[in-house]
């Protein structure tokens, strides 16, 4: 029997019991729709985390002071003063995988303008900062090499600080604000980046030459961290290795001693968060997959009922020349038609549900074509798998008994 005829017969058989066919399909429809929506939510959160981390600079490799042991006492990393300005120069000259590097010195305090004040952080950086952290100046300019050398009292200002000291949308360039009683001339305004993955406001900052922060604000000679940028995202691992070797040499660390610094790269952070959201996706998908399985069992159940109901039809088909294989394929194509039709409707509903969830709850939902193909394939397999036993039962009936079945 040709495939066209098989599906014609299957279609007619299902149309004889439209409501029953619909209810059976409903299991698959709900299963597939929830798989697609759940995978969409999982994928959406994964992509949003990835894009936020990428927004912090995918090429970023960070060096911070490491914890150290002195006389048997383990000191906290933040109290260490192991990183120096000279390390930046050495990294730039000896690590070919590093393109840019900047020291960072931080200070917290009140920024004051006229009668208004605002608690914020002052970051001391060099001129490579903008490129390393993937930021830009929307208004005004970045400080120059010269201003770094002379420890000039100039700063760039983040949007949050602008809003709180000058009012929304005001232009503060050329104004002088005070930070820890030191006057800073505002030479530029930084672009707005919003909150990062961890909920920190990336616009609540002042940016000044690191020399200024070191000498005039904090009165220190060390740097608190070093931000470097690898030549590309794939060489962050290589850059980290080169920086480690260079700094061990520079800091004269013996082979038996541990590092007095820690290197982090964004790729690691990215893979950590990706694995978390992958687990989330798998979990959501598995729960939805269970409903798909239940839908498959529903198909199996209804196919058994159908085989029993149509025992005499099976007997007749066998008597007039239907082989076991023909009967098997007939019932198999019926269950496949149920599951595939249900699957297609489910895919459409799943995409619609994802869109609705995405827009009403403002969650990032991304439906990948691969999840559509996956659920379609799973449906087809379910149709074959759960249709097989009822179809096998039908095909192995004895025609004489089947014809006499009441």
């Amino acid at each position: 029997m040709s495939i066209k005829n098989l599906f014609k017969i299957a279609m007619n058989a299902l149309l004889r019991n439209k409501f029953r066919a619909f209810l059976t399909m409903l299991g698959i429809i709900i299963g597939v729709a929830s798989v697609i929506a759940m995978l969409g939510i999982g994928e959406g959160s994964k992509q949003s985390i990835q894009s936020q981390i990428a927004g912090m600079g995918l090429n970023l490799v960070t060096v911070v002071p490491g914890s150290q042991q002195r006389g048997g006492v383990q000191f906290g990393a933040s109290t260490m003063q192991s990183l120096k300005e000279a390390d930046v120069a050495v990294i730039l000259s000896e690590c070919p995988a590093v393109k840019l590097a900047t020291p960072e010195v931080r200070g917290n305090g009140q920024a004051v303008f006229g009668a208004l004040n605002w608690p914020t952080s002052l970051y001391g950086e060099n001129e490579s900062y903008l490129e390393i952290r993937e930021r830009s100046v929307t208004n005004g300019r970045m400080f120059t090499d010269r201003e770094i050398t002379s420890a000039a009292k100039v700063c760039l200002i983040g949007q949050t600080v602008v809003t709180n000291l000058f009012g929304l949308g005001a232009d503060p360039v050329g104004q002088v604000i005070r930070f820890k009683k030191i006057p800073f001339l505002i030479i530029g305004v930084l672009d707005s980046k919003g909150l990062n993955t961890f909920g920190q406001d990336q616009d609540d900052l002042l940016l000044a030459p690191y020399t200024t922060v070191q000498k005039r604000v904090q009165a220190i000679t060390y740097v608190q961290s070093i931000y470097t940028s690898a030549v590309d995202a794939s060489s962050t691992g290589l850059a980290a290795t080169q920086i480690e070797e260079t700094l061990r040499r520079q800091h004269k660390i013996k082979a038996s001693d541990q590092n007095d610094f820690t290197i982090r790269n964004q790729a690691e952070l990215l893979s950590t968060f990706s694995s978390v959201s992958n687990i989330l996706t798998v979990l959501l998908g598995a729960i939805a997959g269970i409903s798909l399985l239940v839908g498959g069992i529903g198909i199996m159940n209804i196919m058994y009922v159908s085989v029993t109901e149509r025992t005499r039809e099976i007997g007749l088909r066998m008597a007039i020349g239907g082989k076991g294989r023909d009967i098997l394929l007939q019932f198999l194509s019926e269950s496949m038609l149920l599951s595939i039709t249900g699957g297609l409707i489910g895919i459409v509903l799943g995409i619609a549900a994802s869109k609705i969830i995405g827009s009403t709850m403002s969650w990032p939902v991304v439906v990948l074509p691969s999840s559509e193909i996956l659920s379609f394939a799973v449906c087809t397999i379910i149709g074959i798998f759960f249709g097989w036993y009822p179809a096998k039962k039908a095909s192995s009936l004895d025609p004489i008994d089947a014809l006499r079945y009441e």
Binding site: M1, N12, A319, G321, K323, L403
Partner: protein, 246 residues
């Protein structure tokens, strides 16, 4: 004339638990081309088992059954299925039409299992078969829109559509009233006169009189065989039965 069916010392045993039932105990029977044979007997006499074996639905325990020159005893399940499809036509007591399926589609059914016949030829042959049983105006009716006699005629058309060598009828008039029974018998006689070989199982002596030869079974053996001398012409009987007003 050519022998279409030849049955030689055929036995059939059934095993129900530890009890062996000897349904057929060594039957010899032959049917030649153009015959209209009635198989008769009380229930349990073995006539249904005989028909199942003639219909290639069951295999004998021992003995030979040669249908149209081929010994059936050694064939597999699938080979039997295609044999039924090409050589035999079945008519059942309960019609066994597919519900909610038009007469035309029901008649086409046997040809669907013959991949050498294309859909156009299938339709043409089904239409011709329905015309030959006088149902050309009921082709697109479904079984529940047809009377019992009409349904049985659709079933006869279905048994004719693959041009079988033998038509097997199992109590084909068992569910019908007298008038309709003679209508169906008249149709069978008509087909027989056009050369169709028919094997007809019945327990009604009046109906058996419409055939050319009666074979009476008892306890798994043929009790007697006799040619019908005073053959009933079903069409004449039909004319004499008044149409009941209802």
């Amino acid at each position: 004339m050519k022998k279409l069916i030849e049955i030689i010392s055929l036995k059939k045993d059934y095993y129900i638990g530890e009890v062996t039932v000897h349904a057929l105990r060594g039957v010899n029977l032959s049917v030649t081309e153009g015959e209209f044979v009635a198989i008769m007997g009380a229930s349990g006499s073995g006539k249904s088992t005989m028909l199942n074996i003639i219909g290639c639905l069951d295999k004998p325990t021992s003995g030979d059954y040669i249908l149209d020159g081929i010994n059936i005893s050694g064939l597999s399940r699938n080979e039997l299925a295609s044999y039924r499809n090409r050589k035999l036509g079945f008519v059942f007591q309960t019609y066994n039409l597919l519900p909610r399926t038009t007469a035309l589609d029901n008649v086409e059914l046997p040809l669907l299992y013959n991949s050498t016949i294309k859909s156009k030829e299938r339709r043409e042959r089904a239409i011709a078969a329905l015309e030959s049983v006088g149902l050309s105006d009921r082709m697109h009716h479904k079984p529940n829109q047809l009377s019992g006699g009409q349904q049985q005629r659709v079933a006869i058309a279905r048994s004719l559509v693959n041009d079988p060598v033998v038509i097997l009828a199992d109590e084909a008039t068992g569910n019908l009233d007298t008038r309709t029974s003679y209508e169906i018998m008249s149709l069978f006689q008509d087909l027989n006169s056009k050369g169709k070989t028919i094997v007809f199982v019945t327990h009604e002596p009046d109906i058996a009189k419409c055939t050319t030869r009666n074979v009476i079974f008892k306890d798994g053996l043929i009790l007697r065989e006799n040619a019908v001398t005073d053959r009933t012409n079903a069409a004449e009987v039909l004319a004499s039965i008044p149409i009941e007003a209802d």
